[in-house]
Each structure stands twice: as C-alpha cells, then as structure tokens.
Amino acid sequence: MSGIFLKKINKSFGNTLVLNNVDLEIYEGEFLTLVGPSGCGKSTLLRILAGLESSDSGEVFIGGADMTKVKPADRNLAMVFQSYALYPHLTVSENMLTPLKLRHLSTLERFPLIGPFISREKRNELTERVRKTAKILKLESFLKRKPGQLSGGQRQRAALGRAMVRNPVGFLMDEPLSNLDAALRVHMRSELSELHKALGSTFVYVTHDQAEALTMSNRLAVMMDGNILQLGKPREIYENPSDIRVAEFIGSPKINIFSCNVIKSNQVEICGFKIQGNFQHFMDKKISIGIRPEHLSLTNDRNCIKGIIKHRENLGSDFFMHVESPNIEKRIILRVSPEEALNLQVDAKVNFNFSQKYALFFNSAGKRVEVFDPNNITNKKIA
C-alpha cells in the first residue's frame, strides 16, 4: 500500500488547539481536498504531512512507512505554495532544476566550477527531464525567464513544474489558485484536474474555496476548529451534510436554515406549516431545518410561506432572491430561473414552497438527524 495515513494528529500553538486528534486516510492516486474556513487547521495539517511542521502527537505514514520524524526532503512529497515560492534570482529552468540537483547530484558534483565539469552527463539528463516537464505544462518558451518576468498563471505553472519534475509520490497544494484572478482560477481548476488524471499521483489540496473543493476533488474533508467534520465525495457532502456547519460552509449561496419547534412526537411546525416525521427524541427541543436555495420553489398557492423580495442577485444563468419573511429572523435565499425573475422586482410579494425530501434536519447540537422513514420518502410539498 502506498497511500498516506495520518493518525491521531494533535497540534497546538501556545494555548490554541489547532488540530484535535485528526485521523485521515488518503488513498493512492486520489485528489483529496481539505476545505474549511481560515484558521480551521487545514494548512497546519498539510504542513505536518509535508514535515514542515511537527505535530505534538500522532503519526504520519506515507507509503506504509512511518515518516513522522523524517525530514521534509526525504518524504518525497512535492509542495506548491500559495505564493508560488519560486526562487526569485533563478530562471524557471534553474528553479525546476534545483530539487533535481539536490536529489541526484552529490555534494562534490554540486560544487561550483568543478561540479558541472565532472557531472556533465548527469546534468544533461536532468536538463532533459526539466525540458519534458516544461513541455507538458507548456512552459518551454519561459524557461529562460526569471519569476519576476512571468504573469501569475505562468508562475503558477512554473511552481507546478518544480513540483512535478522529480516524480514525487504525492503533491501537496496549499491554496495554489488563490492569488490568481477569477477567470484564470476557473481555468486552472480544470487544468489541475486534468493534470491529476494524467499523472495519476496523489494530490492533497488545501483551499477555503468550497467551489474549488467541489469541482476538483475525488473526496473532500471539511474541517472546522481542528476537526474533520465530514469526509466524503463532493456530491455526498453537498446532498448529505452530517453537520449544520458543513451544510452552511459547502454550497453558495448558503443553505437556508429555519429553526422550528417540535410540537408532537411526529410533527414539527415551520411558519405555521406542519411536517410529519419521527421526532420522538426531540420533544421540547429546538430543531433546525436546512434547505438549499435551489430546492425552494415559487408557487402561486397563497397558502405557502410568504415573503417580500428585498434584494435580487443576477448571475446570468440564475437569479438569487433574498426574501424577508415574517416569523423568520434570517433572510431566505431562493434560486429562480431568469424567466421567473423577469416579473419579480424588489418589494414584490412571493409565495414559496419546498418538497419534504430536500429538508435536512439538524438537532440542537448541529448534528444531522433522520426523521423520515428511509423507505417512504415522499416528494410531498409542505403546504
């Protein structure tokens, strides 16, 4: 086996606990994303995996071997940094050669003046490898330039090249796209995914951008306050969040959360409407319902949830309506198609509805609870 396994990792800086007993297994060849708000410990976890930071306790296994105490260079992982971290005084090709030279040439062969002389053949071989990698990344015409003379996207590629050139067992990426402009970021997303497929090696990717996490990864781990809240396939996490914080973090715009009262062991009330289900464990407790904006639909039926549009957001393909409704403290966001949006202006009154099967229930601790009989989930609208 040659996956990566992080076991019971603990880390604190001073009195702040950054990682709390984190366990994570990364399969060989997968694209795993660590996603979470800033300060959740995702970068620290990546740095512990890289060996740049030491954990207070816990173990790191790479390819079946215990690497907890091994130097970063000997773990054979490559890292791509947010700031690219290219050596500013070296050209792109020298940047890409650096890790190769340090790995494949002896101290004597790296020595100035005599080094190049006694290791000419080896050096030609390494230059050839750089050239090949540059070709894959379409970097050939920039090899002689210094990082300062490159655009953001080219620097990003050069940094990828420096990581790729030595065939590491895994790539660690710490928010590599966040310094790029929006259009390029979207473009690089697909490029990175394709690169992952082409190389077939393990990618561990850290980001705070849930869109990047959803679009690129095979699996993603949602982290918050030093814990991995949920680990799974993007679709699973989007549709079936196990925690209210995961539900709120993944998905843009944010999921709508309604808090409601359990009135009977088989019934809750939301804005005067009743939903049937198994609520016997939640009697006299608060329960929250989460519904994604795309699962709320407009209706002409006056008996549904009412509201007034306070703000409309035009995204071209979709409109998001921010609706204020009596009895609900937060504004509700619902997605409508551009056609529907045509005759909905600010201050218009709307009625909307949702189908029960999309309702996600969370208990007072924020944990997901199942209230419907799994064999009998209906498309029934609430009103």
Binding site: R47, A50, G51, L52, K71, P72, A73, D74, L77, A78, M79, F81, Q82, S83, Y84, A85, L86, Y87, P88, H89, T98, P99, L102, R103, R162
Partner: protein
Amino acid sequence: MNFSIGQTIKHAILILGALIVIAPFYTMVSYSFKSQREIETGADTGFFGSQEVIIDEFCVHRGQPEREEVKDTLELYPEKTERDVYNILLDEVKKNCTKKPVFFNYQSAFTFAPLLRYLLNGVIVTVSIFLIQVIVALPAAYALAKLRFWGRDFAFSLVLFCLLIPVHAIALPLYIMLAKVGLTNTYAALIIPWTISVFGIFLMRQFFMTVPDDLIDAGRMDGMSEFSIIWKVMLPTAIPALLAFAIFSVVAHWNDYFWPRVVITGERNLFTPPIGMREYRADSDGTFYGPIMAVSTVIVTPLIVAFMLAQKRFIEGITLSGMK
C-alpha cells in the same frame, strides 16, 4: 513641470543642504590643484587655480649639483668660475623641477609616503571585515528572523542592546585583550574587533522578516539544508540589503581613524589611509596643504565611485522595500 510654493521651498532647503555638504569637498579638490602660495594668500584663482608653474623645492634639494659634478663640468669650460658653473647646473635642475602645482601635489601625495601601501592596507582591512561580518551576520539574522527556538526573543533583545554600546567605551578593554595575546600591530588587530556587527545582524534580520516563509519551506521541500537555504536562497534575495550594509561597513572602516590609531603603534607598513595621512602633516617647514588635499582626494575617491555605482540598489536596500 509645475512648481508649487511648497515644492520650491523644499527644494531650496535641499539645495542649501547639499551646498553645505559639498563645500568641504569642493575646497579639498580645489586645493589639491593649487600651489602653496595660492592657498596661503587665498587669491581668487577659480576652482582649478592659475596652474602657474612652481619650482618643486624638494626636487631641487634632491638634485643639487655635487662638488664632483661641478669640478667635472669646470674642466669643459675653463673660462668660467666654479660659482658660475654651479649656478648653471642648479638652473638646469630647477628647470627640470619646474611643474604645474597639480602635478606637484599629486606626485608628492604618492612619493612623500607609501600611499599605495596605505590604500592596499585599507582594502585588505575593509574587505576582510565586511566578508567576515556577512559570514557571521547572515546565519544569525536568519535564525533570529525565521527559526523558532527557545530564547530567540531574548537573543534578539541582546542584539538591540549591543547596538547601544559606543565603540569608544569598550576600546580600552579590547586593546588590552589584543595586547595580551600579542596581536597589536597586526592586521588581525584591525579586523577582529569588527567581525561581529550587531548592526549587520539587525539590518539583515529586519530584511529577512520580509522574505516569505513559503520560500524557505520550498527550499526545505527541495532538499536544502538550513545552511544552503541561507547561502542559496536568502543571500541572493538579500543583495540590496547587503549592499546597503556594505556601504555602511566599508565607509566606517575605511574612514576609521580611532581604532587603527590605537592598535597600530609603530608598524608603518600597516597604516590605513586615514592614519597614513598623519605622515603628511605639518613639520617645521609648515603644512603642505596642496599635497595633503591631494591625498585626501585620493582616499575618498574609491568610496564615492563605489557609491555612485551601487547608488540605485543601495537606496533600495535602505528603504527595505522587500520583495514581491
């Protein structure tokens, strides 16, 4: 171009300041062109002086006709008296020793005392001091800026504290230490006390703080040791700051009069340029301002040229604009 009153006043003040700073240099260079008489009478003969030829008294003194020479010449011209022949020969010598003051001044600068030797000593001392300072300061600054270890803040506060110690306060103990190990009157005495520059450590530490941590981590991932990170990553990025420090260090030690005066007591071969200048000072014949000013000009020129060449990067280093 548009001038506001504020800008005009600002520039006027700056120009005035520049004039005050330049004035001594102007006088120095101007005097190095002039004859002793022009300097002493203060005659207004412009920047380059009148360049009226003068007779080099030292040259004449050295070339005075010998008795033998007079006798030999006398045989060729039997009709002349000994006195006449002597005067003719002396006139010949005087003619050869007649030169423009600028040549006299600069020639004297190099012939009165071994000025080239002093300049060489200056180069040896300042370059050695600077190189060793860099070798010490870069690793120290790197550790203080980028490594986490117990007592780092305390170590840095010690560095700051050492910045406050005036050189003259510790000169005597330093001298005693060097004397006890028998190092006075050596290059080592001129160099060793300055090899650890707290200012250098401080300056480089401040610069290293602006270098992104990612760059160092990239070096570690690529397989560099901490020392190769210092020399292969930090040093190249720190060139502007190093140049600024080089100017501070080289100027200070090239111009230093105090310390060489303390530790170099007799050995003339070890004189640095400022100490060497003492050789030209007044004796019973009075002070030869022209040659002294020529020596001064020769001594300051290398520094001014170096500054002009490195000016742009030097200012980059001072402002510590960091890197992006």
